[in-house]
Each structure stands twice: as structure tokens, then as C-alpha cells.
Amino acid sequence: MEHPRIDDNKIIDHYLVGQLSPDDEAAFEEHLFECTDCLEKVQWGEELRRGLRTVATEDTARATVALGWMAWLRQLGSARRAGLASLALLVTLLPAVVLWQQVELAQLRSRAAGSSALTEPIGDLAVLSMGVVRDAEPVEVRVDPEKAAVLLSLELPRVDADRYRVTLVDVDGSVQWRGDDLEPSLYDTLMVILPSTYLVPGSYRITIEAMSSAGASSAGELEFRVVSSM
């Protein structure tokens, strides 16, 4: 494989994510034996790819811990406990959830103005991505009550604090759930995992507050309506 082709076709980038044909991959790997320059580039690219994956996995695990995974497990009634063994499997699925979430967020952003939400089941988890958009109409989201938990991924319009407080309020104004001390991920989102029993059909409001030494200040609000997907 010759250099003009490697440069013109961005062979190194595509090699790193396994997007070359088997023939091109073989030819490029053989080229590495005679080209220190390409070898160095590909080594650093591979290292970066591994680093990004490490961070994505850690962020998900941290979100889970920060949100009091165990705390809400304890709150669940014994009737639901039988399903919790399978929920434990979720932990192994979490990196996949984050990957999926990134893709979904991108799709959300590429849509026209206004708030939008998407739900998608993964294993025992329903993932719900929402962007915080000012003056947006409430969106309708479908939550499968058979799913044990819902992962709310809240995209912040901007990140200007290290810690946030998220409050989920139902139509009567009573607080269903509150999470203090939530740390945004590197992708400017807050991740909240809730048992699906918290989101029975009805209208809800989520308020997000930025926390600082001066206290809490509003960082956004969004309204949505849950309908059963059954």
C-alpha cells in the first residue's frame, strides 16, 4: 500500500474502527512493517480509541452509582424483587446503553427546534433521551411498564456547574424523585436511572438546577407526558 492512497482514503482512521475491506486491512498491516510513521499514527489512534471507550464505560458506571442504584433497589416492593436478578444483568449492558445514548442524542440534535424525546428498550431498561429546550411543548413518551427501569438522559443546553439537582414532579406537583449532586457526563448530559414504577402514565415536569456555593439556580425545565406502550 502506498502513501498517497493511505492519505487520500484516510486509511488510518478507517483501519482503527475496522472499516477497511479485509484486503485493504491486510495490505495496510503489511505496510506497517516498513513504515514507522504510519505505525506511530495508528498506535496513538488505537490508544485514543481505547481511552474513549474506557471513559464511556466509567461514566456510565459512575452515573449508576451516583444515582443511588442500591438506594432505589431497596425502595422497590418485594413484588418486583423477582425481576431484579435480571436487572443486575444491566450492569453488563451499560456500556452499550451509553453508546446507544450518544447516537440517540445526535439524532435528537439534528432534528428541528423544539423538545423531542425517544424511547428505546434495552434489556430490562427503557432509555429515554430528552433535550432541555426553552418554551418547548411537552412531549409524549412511551414507557413500557414491563421494563424494570428507565434511564433518563437529560441533555443540558450548556454546562456551567459541576453539580446539578434534578427533580421529578408529577401533575399534582408532588415530588416523585429528587437527585442532588449529579455530575454531568463529558457529553453534557445528566443520567438518571429510575424504577419504571415512578413513571406511570400521566404528566410530569423535570426541573434541573445548577448547584454552586451560592445555592441553586435554574438550569432548565422540561415537561413530558408518559403513556403506556402496552
Binding site: 484516510k10 482512521d13 478507517h14 482503527l16 474502527v17 475496522g18 472499516q19 491486510a26 498491516e29 503489511e30 506497517l32 512493517f33 516498513e34 513504515c35 514507522t36 505505525l39 499514527k41 495508528v42 498506535q43 496513538w44 489512534g45 488505537e46 490508544e47 485514543l48 480509541r49 481505547r50 481511552g51 474513549l52 471507550r53 474506557t54 471513559v55 464511556a56 466509567e58 451509553v98 453508546l99 450518544q102 447516537v103 442524542l105 445526535a106 439524532q107 440534535r109 439534528s110 463529558l186 457529553y187 453534557d188
Partner: protein, 190 residues
């Protein structure tokens, strides 16, 4: 030192003739690439090191036994060898897992990363976070995560984010360079 065609032919000849200095030269010329390929084929640094060592041993044996029919294609031979050995190791491991547990009661679980693995893991995370923090434009972070983590195609990412391919590849290129610099600064503080 790299491996061009002339060097390959010369190396195969000398190793076959029993010239031990040629063994060392093989490692010098091909070691880095073989290590890299071994790491691509395995899940952790410890497994990669084992695969790398095995590849070198088998390669030298095969060359000495004149099993390399096209010496000028030594690179292709070595590349195929590391891949084949990796598949064999994977099959062996699948078999080992199915064996009754009393077969090797005290055998260490080699799937656990060693201390070096842990260290690399921590530093990798630290430096990647630093790199991501330095990226002021969140779209650039999204380029990295969608390409390297979600493994989406470049045209799709460019279309979604409304960016030119030129910009897309520049983000990848710069991130790689910056990451390397961060490692180098980390390795030699001050």
C-alpha cells in the same frame, strides 16, 4: 529499523543459516508491529504480551525449518501468523473454560489484567478526560465518540453534524496528536 523486501530476504536467509544475530534483528525490525497487532487481537496487555512472545517463537522455528516459501513476503507471513495464533489461543481458551474446574485448581486467571494493565487503564482514563476537557466545542467531542465508540460511518456523522469531511478528519487527526502529546508530557513531567 523497519522491514523492506531486501531486509526480509536477507533476514530469512540468515535465520535459516543459524545466524543468531539475525534472530535479534527480526525482533528489532518487526517487534513493534507484532506487539501492536497482538494487542489488536487480544483483550488486555497481558494476553497481548503472551501472544507476541508466542508469535516470535513460532516465527523463528518456521523460518529455521524453511517453511517461509516467499522470504520477500516475510511481513505478510508474520501478520498471518499473529492472527492465526490469536484464533488458536481463543479456541484453546474456550475449551479451557469448559473443562471441569478441578483440572487446574490453583491456576491463576490470566484473563485478569496485571499491575501494568491497571496502571495503563487509570492513566488512559485520566489523559482521555483531559483531552476531552480541552475540546471546547462539544461537536468535536461528539465526532470522537460517534466515530471511535459508536463506530458510525464518517459520511453519516458529517451529515448529522453538518460538517465537511475535511473538518471531520482534522478533528480526528488533532485529537490523536494532542493525545500523544499528553502522554509524552505525562511520562516526562516538567
Amino acid at each position: 529499523m523497519t522491514l523492506d523486501t531486501a531486509a526480509a530476504v536477507d533476514l530469512v536467509q540468515r535465520i535459516s543459516d543459524g545466524d543468531t544475530s539475525a534472530d535479534a534483528e527480526l525482533v528489532e525490525r518487526c517487534g513493534k508491529v507484532l506487539r501492536f497487532l497482538a494487542r489488536r487481537c487480544t483483550r488486555n496487555e497481558a494476553d497481548a504480551e503472551d501472544l507476541y512472545q508466542e508469535t516470535l517463537i513460532v516465527a523463528l522455528e518456521k523460518i529455521r525449518r524453511h517453511e517461509v516459501r516467499e522470504p520477500e513476503r516475510l511481513a505478510g507471513f508474520l501478520r498471518a501468523l499473529v492472527k492465526n495464533l490469536s484464533v488458536q489461543r481463543y479456541r484453546r481458551r474456550s475449551y479451557d473454560v469448559e473443562k471441569p474446574s478441578d483440572a487446574l485448581p490453583d491456576a491463576p486467571d490470566e484473563r485478569q489484567p496485571n499491575a501494568l494493565g491497571h496502571l495503563l487503564h487509570r492513566e488512559r482514563s485520566l489523559l482521555t478526560r483531559r483531552l476531552l476537557t480541552e475540546l471546547k466545542v462539544s461537536r468535536d467531542r461528539e465526532v470522537l465518540s460517534r466515530f471511535y465508540i459508536a463506530e458510525e460511518s464518517s459520511p453519516r456523522i458529517c451529515q448529522d453534524l453538518d460538517i465537511e469531511p475535511e473538518h471531520f478528519y482534522r478533528v480526528l487527526h488533532r485529537a490523536r496528536q494532542r493525545y500523544r502529546l499528553l502522554w509524552e508530557e505525562h511520562a516526562e513531567p516538567g
